[in-house]
Amino acid sequence: MKVNGSERSGDVEPRVLLVDFLRSNLRLTGTHIGCDTTSCGACTVLIDGEPVKSCTVLALQAEGRSVTTVEGLAQGATLSAVQDGFHQEHGLQCGFCTPGMMLVGTALLARNPNPTEEEIRWAISGNICRCTGYMNIVKAIQHAAKAAKPAAAAVAGGGE
């Protein structure tokens, strides 16, 4: 599969989940494991540009697809528009939900560059912030939408 723009491969048992393949085989530990039951969204990654819960995807289902993790958002030392929004608007407290929130925000802005507050709130409705810092998460995504940088460019290998 392509991960953050690079071809990556590994031999796994069929039962290995995508989140475990990313974290254990590829050592991309920015993708978190929260509830492990499809509820919290801490494990969100993009497959072909669309956010999914990687604890509920088999690694084999992603074979040949393009996967984006939080490690793929920045271009070198330059933060993506969404990352910068989270930085500027204090969109994180403990940071556990942040990779998922940023990926959902990135995918939203790629589809809809000018979302309403309500559209942002619906987009992140499958992701839980255990600090309940939703206000600033919404502001962070709004900040990114306002920034001149097109968010679509930040989706490394995204297929939307």
Binding site: R15, V52, K53, T56, V57, Q61, W122, G126
Partner: protein
Amino acid sequence: MYPAAFDYRAPKTLDETLALLKEKGDDAKVMAGGQSLIPLLKLRFAQPALVIDIGRLPSMATIKKQDGYVSIGALVRHVDIERSEDLKSWLPIMGEAAHWVADPLVRNRGTVVGSVCHADPSGDWGAVMLALGADLVARSASGERVIHATDFFTGPLTNALKPDELVTEIRIPVPSGASGGAYNKLERKVGDFATAAAAVQVEMKDGKLSRVGIGLTAVGETNLKAAAAEKSLTGQQPTDALIAEAARLAASAATPKGDVRGSAEFKKDMVRVLVQRGLKTAVARAKGGKA
């Protein structure tokens, strides 16, 4: 959590899939998006020897209209329904219901047909299919048969499919004339299963209801069809009194169990409220000339 070990096949053609099901169907589970199956595997509620991933089959992700019905292919995801402009004009209840399924991330992977086949009484699509009078097309190596939605749900998480059968599409009759639908769901939060929900679809002719379909979610052993309520309205002018009576009949058809989401009594009353609300909305939409 790791599932128990299983073999995995991702056939490239339908024929290959049906041959696999014929040979190993007894001990296999079919996976489309995996949003119901993978949680079951992880909790080890399901431990099949083989998972057949149909996610790579070609031409199954199509929504099309033909021969008087709308066809939903086996790989059409909830999000595809939500975004389909065609369905907004053909069967707007579909997009309305899709919006209530799970959460946006699950909707990016989960499929309508997979959800219906999963046959969870708390699933949203079963109620919609009952309200719409849908048919499921079941294919096996030996042929094809059509199973009506009313005959499909045989118990909690069990359906009428034989071990060698695969549902390739759902066929929904195109409404004739003025029609309207509504899906109303009470849920505690996004992603939670319904406390109760009701799908309502009506067709009207000369001011009278020519067809009424009502399906219920999460208030019985399966998704339920509120047949007595449907019958009480068919052929009638939809007055507030008749709608209230039909909603009462639908509530009396519900057999919910009390749990953390509410008592059985509360859920029955919510069925009454949701059906009444749905009928009023559906009738208004049908009268508004919007399908």
